[in-house]
């Protein structure tokens, strides 16, 4: 699932000398398996290389060790986490340990029986995502099948009194239907709707030219969202996340590297964010070989970009560096070719012109592009093919 995770703690960015705070947020990516094929999927492009998933015993130990360090929010995601049949066991343990437990799901597989079992296990919250759930994009846009499924699942969620957050990834191909998406969310009784514009990593990066909206689309979608926000202020909270290519300052990625977020991927690799495995020259430890304490406080991978000592110009001497800590390391690597560079979203970055070029290109009609290089759907076959071609995103 797409994670748009927010932690409104007053946890300040760590200075270099101070011991980092605890990994408040634990994201357990239980599997890369998924019945869906989203063109913006954030799982690594080479996900199909992971053959052996971390077993139940190891996950239980991870939950315990992270909780002992101070983790308090726990997200179960994937792939589709419901494909793990030990999900209830893991949720139950997380609940007993005192975590606030979140399930990030497409809803596929959330039956009445499983919803009840998860409730009994102590699950606190379900984030349901709208996805392009079939290979026919039209199906999503006309949202017949999607709507039926979400309707059924939303009812199950409501019947079991889970708070419901709906997440919909927004992009060039569905942004013009944003009013319909909002209306659907209201009708389904969601308390919160996250309209998360695609950020360009992993599969979304492969499909970037199909997915980056025009400026006009974006402005109009935001205006529509604001209208609904006002009209339904008591009913639903709507969060609208702008694609950062349209910004001139980067996001403070993951609220700071190794600052609050700890992701464990399906094979047990510990990462500061779910895309960090693409970064070259960084050795991220596996929970199979190391304790969470050693991983979080001692490992090279987690310490590498903590604080600001690693920065180069223009970030090093930038008066704004505390605001964004130089942005996203993966974006710096993907676009500027150096994980320690400024995030090229920043207009002070010498590579900012590349972002501008993407944005300019997006203003043109893309019909030709559609036929020249078709959308790549996320599935194991494409994954292996892209991996052979050496695409790393």
């Amino acid at each position: 699932m797409e994670n748009t995770i927010t932690t409104s703690s007053d946890h300040a960015a760590q200075s270099n000398a101070a011991k980092p705070g605890p990994p408040l947020w634990l994201l357990a990516e239980l599997t890369y398996r998924c019945p869906l094929h989203c063109v913006f999927c954030f799982n690594p492009v080479n996900f199909a290389n992971v053959e052996k998933e971390l077993d139940t015993e190891n996950w239980l130990r991870v939950l315990k060790e992270a909780r002992a360090l101070g983790s308090v929010q726990c997200g179960f995601s994937g792939g589709e986490p419901l494909l793990r049949d030990d999900l209830e066991t893991l949720v139950s343990e997380a609940h007993k340990l005192g975590y606030y437990t979140n399930l990030l799901t497409s809803g596929v597989g959330l039956t009445e029986t499983r919803a009840k079992a998860l409730k009994d296990a102590g699950l606190d919250h379900i984030q349901l995502s709208f996805q392009d759930s079939t290979k026919e994009l039209n199906d999503f846009l006309s949202h017949t099948k999607t709507f039926d499924l979400k309707h059924k699942v939303a009812k199950i969620i409501a019947d079991h009194e889970f708070p419901m957050v709906l997440n919909c990834v927004i992009h060039r191909l569905n942004i013009d239907y944003i009013d319909k998406i909002i209306e659907m969310a209201i009708e389904l009784g969601a308390e919160c709707l996250e309209l998360a514009n695609t950020q360009f990593y992993s599969w979304a990066k492969v499909n970037q030219e199909h997915l980056l909206p025009t400026r006009e689309q974006l402005v109009s979608a935001e205006a529509i969202t604001n209208r609904y926000r006002e009209k339904y202020a008591d009913k639903i909270r709507i969060i609208f996340v702008v694609p950062d290519y349209y910004e001139t300052r980067p996001k403070k990625c993951m609220n700071g590297w190794g600052n609050v977020f700890l992701t464990i991927n399906p094979e047990g690799k510990a990462l500061p964010c779910h895309t960090a495995s693409m970064l070259p020259g960084l050795d991220f430890p596996s929970v199979k070989d190391h304790s969470i304490n050693d991983i979080w406080y001692e490992s090279e991978g987690f310490n590498r970009f903590r604080g600001d000592a690693w920065m180069k110009e223009p970030c090093r001497s930038c008066p704004e560096k505390e605001n964004d800590l130089g942005g996203c390391r993966c974006q710096a690597y993907m676009i500027a070719g150096d994980p320690a560079a400024a995030d090229p979203v920043c207009d002070k970055s010498p590579d900012h012109h590349k972002i501008q070029a993407y944005v300019e290109k997006a203003q043109q009609p893309q019909d030709k592009q559609m036929t020249e290089s078709p959308l790549v759907f996320r599935d194991p076959k494409s994954s292996r093919k892209l991996d052979e071609e050496g695409i790393v995103f």
Binding site: T6, T7, S8, P22, G70, Y100, N102, P163
Partner: protein, 100 residues
């Protein structure tokens, strides 16, 4: 110090932490926190002391008296009502008026 006349509720009401928030003490942060879907609010000392007493049974008046006793202080009503007013606005708590 008398009670704040701007508040829309009275000390005879009963406050409780509202769904989907969950209040708990976090050793690692040495503070009370409110947890909610995918988020957390770290409470300062007084806020934590007030909220943990809002158990859905005691009246606000009883909460104030308990705080005054436990912290050996007087005149906390204004501070408590002020905080609860903010908490209500943020939907951290809900209030009920006891019948009778």
């Amino acid at each position: 110090m008398s009670s704040d006349t701007n508040t829309t509720f009275s000390t005879s009401d009963i406050a409780a932490v509202a769904k989907p928030y969950r209040l708990q003490y976090e050793e690692a942060q040495e503070s009370w926190v409110l947890l909610y879907p995918e988020g957390m609010v770290k409470l300062n000392g007084p806020a934590g002391e007030i909220l943990k007493r809002c158990d859905g049974e005691k009246t606000i008046d009883a909460v104030i008296r308990e705080l005054e006793k436990d912290f050996e202080q007087k005149g906390l009503e204004k501070d408590v009502m002020g905080f609860l007013d903010i908490a209500l606005e943020k939907r951290w708590i809900n209030l009920t008026t006891p019948s009778s």
